[in-house]
């Protein structure tokens, strides 16, 4: 705790010193700036502002029909020398250009109008090249800084929820730092770990699998993007179809997430500081029984079973206090976690060189008992330089993040919420864990392990340097060199007082150190030329990449005292030491040829040849490629003449192949590892030298339209991805020695669907603007082919023509009139229930999902809110009444009258019936939801009142996350809805201020 306080104080100090520094630099700058006199023409000065009156730095002010021009300073000011009769052209990305006649004036202030709809102007990062919204042939979705920078989230992925068509983000849990799941256009691979998209940060691929941890987050792992500063992200592009992803070849099958961090493009120096703080809670509670109701249900169970409760079968009725009541949900997750974020950016530059230096601090607590938190400190630096002749370019970006995650050790939290409400106290009065009351009932204290704590120190360094040189008109050479280094140290402290008397009670610690390093070298040649109306853009390049990962783990036992835990010299023994290193190498050649005729007809060809060390020597190389084409039909004279309301119309389509090599390294090696016992070697998995790439063939067709001067824009795409040669942990009967082997499955999985993206400007006046954007996706997942499925080990898992993640369940047959228990149908009438009776397909895939985002601004106020929605089914299984587990209140109807639930009973027969009914459609509920996922409200303090204190801009904002959920689902979070008890997104409300100097 003291440490935390110190680190916070340290951050504040850094910010204050930074601010002072900026002030002093600014005052110096003020002294040295003197405008140069120029005698032949007049010198014009002025300030360029946006409609809010905020200065626009970096805008181009040029003299019409000449090559002369200048850029505006940080304050939006410019000065230019021009003939008294000239016309000034002011342009800036995202604003409508304006022309103003000088008319001999020496001071001209100009207000620019935003041009959000400028399709041609919005540059899109397509990875190895840039394109524009207007001319792209592939499917690329984009989220920009404005939409995500204020969200109080740890990983940028969490900020994407509901914002992009075809992109589904599911939270990994309620602990800060846990990895979310992102799926782009559904599940392509049967392996859970084979469905990660490729993450690329500033051109450098990042290993997208979650970082391993021993802490409570060990199921989901830690998000590898945690150490990025969300506020420092310029844009996130998601590449979806073949045209966009084929240039990533073997790694593009699951889509590509391109993260671009901010760089500075402007002159002069500036400083931006932003601070916010907030609080998070678990948004709802389950409706469980109170003590009186619970005990009635339990007594009824024994009454129904004709059994006398005793200490063995009914500790809650016989041993425990009958009047005690604890709200276990409140106890477990009733807390409030606080979030703090501080951000400081210092930037500057001139025509040729600019830089941006930033730092941030983020901390978030947990809602669980105990003093645990997550902290991160990030620093980033970017530098751009262009030589005077514009031929040589260098671009450097460095991101460094330290992530300190203090979590409770691995404690089974979820079981606590459903403890009998009269269960004894977890803690004794002196604060130690209460063992006696629990062990008397033959139970472990449910907070067994509570004093365990884990600290994960994760350092992440990502750097990339890009050189480019224009060799000749149209031909340039580019090379990017990236290096990443992620090292993490984790210590799990296991003090003796934390473990049950059923364990050896010593003070132990468990250590996990891991390191992931990679470098990548990508030389490229770009060639661009116009041949009359034909425009050609091409790239040829190569990739060499090496990742090396290592981890080591050990356990230290027998520290004399708890205070010494972690001090290895004080440990009695060091056991279970293991280390592992893996190396992955990857090489590729790639090329792209993009051609267009008159900027109307576009064709884009991409190809890649890949080699990966993850495959056996005979299967290392493969080729991938795609073709994309587009026709901007609104440019045709006929359309222009007859359909004048149509401001833009494009048809596009693409087809191509991508691959997937996301499997463990060395799986093809027939190898032995060390046993846990000393001196032994054993085969830890089956080896298969013959597996090869998973191939994903993607087809897409789309139409994009805009009406009424782009006020309404629509994009509708249809896609069909066929993933074959499925690389899976092929399920084997365990009589073969193991329950799976890495192999290619002769199956074809199809993901198809429709995606609609629309945006409208509902209202636009000088003071008020309201824009809505909408996206919805209708994904379909289907196993379309599997030769000889009946003879395979998947015969009873999958059904051809149905999605992959179905459950095959029993047919629910109502309540058995004789026993009063759930009955299921014995399909083959063999008197027992097994897989042969599981014929009902239970499908919990999403039918559609999407989001509606509204952005409103009124004078100095702005409001943005995002509704997220999804239609799907979920499961809800908290209705097991009669056993020592607190059920939902729904089952109370069973006490006296009839209900749809089975007779309250604690017998094993009832237990079996309950387990069986979980495998039917009985627990399936509609888990569709509509959620107010994010809402932010901002106020810009008028410029006039700021000038006096020297601020350029000051914005106050409040932000809410997961504020409201409308759902028929009875469990905690419809988004997860596995049993009903899972906690996903927290509700967070935060507020803060942003200051620009």
């Amino acid at each position: 705790m003291k440490n935390n306080y110190q680190s916070r104080a340290y951050i504040v100090a850094v910010i204050v010193i930074g601010l002072l520094l900026i002030f002093s630099i600014k005052s110096l700058a003020a002294v040295t700036t003197t405008p140069l006199p120029y005698f032949q023409d007049i010198t014009i000065t002025g300030i360029i502002t946006d409609k809010d009156g905020l200065p626009v730095p970096g805008a181009t002010v040029s003299i019409k029909d000449t090559n002369n021009g200048t850029l505006t300073e940080m304050e939006g000011t410019y000065n230019i020398t021009a003939p008294a009769g000239a016309t000034l052209v002011i342009s800036y990305l995202g604003f409508k250009s304006r022309e103003v006649a000088v008319d001999g004036r020496k001071e001209i202030d100009i207000q620019l109008e935003e041009d959000v709809q400028a399709l041609g102007a919005v540059e899109i990062n397509a990875g190895y090249y840039n394109t524009t919204e207007r001319e792209r042939t592939g499917n690329i979705s984009r989220v920009t800084a404005e939409e995500i920078e204020l969200q109080p989230v740890v990983s940028p992925l969490q900020a994407l929820q509901g914002r992009m068509a075809g992109v589904e983000v599911t939270p990994g849990g309620s602990n800060p730092g846990t990895a979310s799941t992102i799926r782009i256009r559904g599940i392509n691979s049967l392996r859970e770990e084979g469905n990660f998209p490729l993450y690329i940060i500033d051109g450098v691929p990042i290993i997208s699998t979650p970082v391993e941890t021993n802490s409570i987050a060990f199921n989901a792992g830690l998000d590898p993007l945690n150490t990025l500063n969300v506020s420092n992200i310029e844009s996130i592009e998601v590449l979806k179809d073949a045209d966009a992803t084929a240039i990533y070849g073997s790694r593009g099958a699951n889509g590509v997430v391109l993260i671009t961090t901010k760089t500075d493009k402007q002159r002069g120096t500036g400083l931006e500081a932003r601070v916010y703080t907030g609080a998070s809670t678990v948004p709802n509670r389950l409706d469980l029984l109170n003590t009186e109701e619970y005990l009635r249900v339990r007594r009824k169970a024994f009454e129904n079973d004709g059994l006398e409760p005793d200490a063995n079968n009914a500790y809650d009725l016989v041993l425990w206090d009958q009047d005690r009541y604890t709200d276990w949900q409140e106890f477990l997750f009733g807390g409030t976690s606080s979030t703090t974020n501080a951000n400081l950016v210092f930037s500057g530059g001139n025509e040729n060189t600019s830089f941006r230096l930033g730092g941030s601090y983020f901390s978030q607590g947990t809602v669980y008992p105990g003093d645990f938190d997550y902290n991160k400190v990030t620093g980033n630096f970017s530098l751009r330089h262009t030589s005077y002749d514009q031929k040589f370019n260098i671009n450097l970006s460095v991101n460094y993040g330290i992530d300190i995650n203090n979590l409770v050790g691995n404690v089974g939290f979820s079981s606590i919420a459903r403890l009998p409400p009269n269960a004894p106290a977890i803690f004794n009065e002196d604060g130690t864990l209460n063992w006696s009351d629990w062990t008397e009932a033959g139970l472990d204290n449910p907070l067994n392990g509570y004093y365990n704590s884990s600290t994960t120190n994760n350092n992440n360094f990502i750097s990339n340097i890009l050189f480019s040189y224009k060799i000749y008109s149209g031909l340039s050479f580019k090379t990017s060199l990236g290096y990443t280094n992620n090292w993490s140290e984790e210590i799990l402290k296991l003090p003796a007082r934390s473990s049950s008397p059923a364990d050896v009670q010593t003070n132990n610690s468990s250590h996990l150190n891991s390191n992931r390093k990679s470098w990548i070298l990508e030389p490229q040649l770009n060639y661009e030329k116009d041949f009359g109306k034909l425009n050609l853009q091409s790239i040829m390049g190569a990739t060499l990449q090496e990742n090396s990962s290592s981890n080591s783990r050990f356990r230290a036992n027998g520290y004399v005292s708890e205070a010494l835990i972690g001090n290895l010299t004080a440990a009695e023994t060091i056991v279970n030491a293991a280390s592992e290193n893996t190396e992955y190498r990857y090489s590729a050649l790639f090329a792209r040829i993009g051609m267009n005729w008159d900027r109307k007809y576009f064709i884009n060809l991409t190809g890649r040849r890949d080699g990966s060390s993850r495959f056996g020597p005979n299967n290392r190389f493969a080729n991938f490629g795609a073709v994309g084409a587009a026709w901007i039909f609104s440019e045709e004279a006929v359309i222009k003449k007859n359909l004048s309301f149509l401001s833009f119309g494009k048809l596009r389509g693409s087809y191509g192949t991508t691959g997937n090599d996301q499997i463990g390294d060395y799986g093809y090696l027939d190898a032995y590892e060390a046993t846990a016992g000393p001196g032994g070697l054993y085969p830890s998995a089956l080896a298969n030298p013959d597996y090869s790439w998973e191939v994903n063939k993607k087809l897409e067709g789309a139409i994009e339209l805009a009406f009424f001067s782009d006020r309404i824009r629509l994009g509708l795409s249809w896609y069909r991805n066929k993933s074959s040669n499925q690389l899976v942990g092929y399920a084997l009967p365990s009589m073969t020695g193991f329950s799976s082997v890495q192999a290619n499955l002769p199956a074809t999985v199809e993901n198809s669907g429709w995606e609609l993206e629309a945006s409208t400007i509902n209202f636009e006046t000088k003071n008020f603007r309201w824009q809505t954007s909408f996206n919805v996706s209708f994904p379909r997942n289907k196993l379309i082919d599997y030769p000889d499925i009946e003879q395979s080990s998947y015969a009873n898992t999958y059904r051809i023509g149905h999605p992959l993640n179905i459950n095959l369940g029993y047919e629910y047959d109502g309540l058995d009139p004789e026993t009063g228990f759930y009955a299921i149908r014995d399909i083959n009438e063999d008197g027992s229930f097994d897989y042969q009776d599981r014929n009902v397909i239970i499908d919990r895939n999403s039918e559609f999902f999407g989001g509606i985002n509204n952005t409103l601004s009124f004078k100095k106020f702005s409001l943005q809110f995002l509704w997220q929605f999804e239609k799907k089914n979920g499961s809800h299984s908290l209705f097991n009444a009669g056993r020592p587990l607190n059920p939902m209140v729904d089952i109370l109807g069973n006490l006296d009258g009839e209900s749809k639930f089975q007779k309250i009973s604690q017998s094993s027969q009832a237990g079996t019936a309950f387990n069986n009914v979980l495998n039917t459609t009985f627990p399936i509920q509609d888990a569709s939801f509509l959620r107010l996922q994010s809402l932010s409200f901002g106020y810009n303090i008028p410029r006039k009142s700021l000038e006096r204190i020297g601020f350029k801009r000051c914005k106050l904002f409040i932000h809410g996350q997961n504020l409201l959920t409308i759902t028929p689902y009875g469990g905690m979070d419809p988004q997860l809805s596995l049993s009903g008890i899972e906690i996903g997104n927290l509700r967070t409300v935060s507020g803060g201020v942003q200051i620009n100097l």
Binding site: Y472, A578, S613, D665, L669, Y672, T675, G677, S739, N796
Partner: protein, 467 residues
Amino acid sequence: MEIKLYIDRFVILFACFCFSSCEDFVEVAPPNNKLVQQEVFGSNETAESAMTGIYNQLFQASYINGSSSSITYLAGLSADNIKNIRTTNLDRLQYEESEIIADNDYNLNLWSSAYNIIYMVNTFLEGVSGSEGISQELKIRLEGEARFIRAFTYFHLTNVYGDLPLLLTSNYRENELASRIPQSEVYNQVLDDLLISSELLSDDQEITERTQVNSYTVKAFLARFYLYMEEWEMAEELSSEVIGNTADFEILDELNQVFLANSREAIWQLSPIGRGGNTQTNEGNLFIHSDLLPFFVSNALRADFLELFDETDKRVLNWVGFNDLLQEHYVYKYKIWLSNELPVSEYSMVLRLSEQYLIRAEARAQQNNLTGAIGDIDVIRSRAGVDLIANTAPNMNQTELLNKILEERRMEFFAEWGHRWFDLKRTGRMGEILGNDKPLWEETDLLFPIPAEERMKNPNLTQNPGY
């Protein structure tokens, strides 16, 4: 023009660089924590390590390690010596009630852990036989040890499940859809392996750690095999050989020393060192009612079983504990409930000399050598401190004596290796005895079900009747 040429060359050079750099680049060396199979069987030392690996992994394998999915525990619950107490665990109750469901997790653990060991042995045998880097002498010994472990495992599997898929290669493509073959053929394979093993292992080998298989381990198990096959002469011959090796084996007077590591009564033991952590046996942890947590228990000895013993029987005095709070008796053969002390003081017993005496007693009785049989059974009774049959009933007839031997086995081997369950089965008394004991008993409960998950993945696996 010159510039153009220069550019052309540059592009060509660039392309060449790209193409040439790719192909070799993606070769990587294996990681430091893995050893490729060829290397494992490339030298004596690493091949020995692979054998040590099998012994270590045996202690991780549920079926053999005395844990809650072991034959010891599950066959024990299925018979009539031990019972569940204070447990709400349905999966365990199913054994006691003889109402096992095909997707019982314990059952799947038992099955898959056994087949995992069979895979290890198969791949080991393939590695050893194909190796050129291992000395001939070592090859012979390693093959002998490995074959024994395979025979031991199949023997128990077939006694639990009946007909079995008999897998003798590590090739999963061949194995994944294998069907069950008749029990008699499984027994033939078990016998083959045991005979080869017996031939390969030398009688002269010094016995130091009793965790390592030696020729007497094989002989002792062959004696049991012939007993089950009702080949009495062979059973007698082999048990006599083992009993005759007094240099290595003896019946210990002190009962509390029987289950210690490398005790002289032990013929084969498994060391908890294979766990790589705590050093108590699984049996100790599972059966002992700890003073620390007297309520934290799952099983106890049945009262009707304890009634069989004389009050003076040392086995009750030494091998049975009493929980005051619950008023229950528990198995107390192993004394250590929880430990992380080194060196390991108790090993998990697999084969011990007492069994050889009772095997010989039974074999002799079957061959009508009643005096010889009484002599053998009395060795065990004498150690237990109870009246000798030679004194009390020297004229017992054959049937009475066989019954007496069966009862003696029950009292001697309770909570060890499912002896009671298998004895009832091989002597055809299971229905008669358990039918009276368990209300839900059916004749088909003699065999455990083939795990449902296995049948899901291998459609050629049939189910045992009654499941």
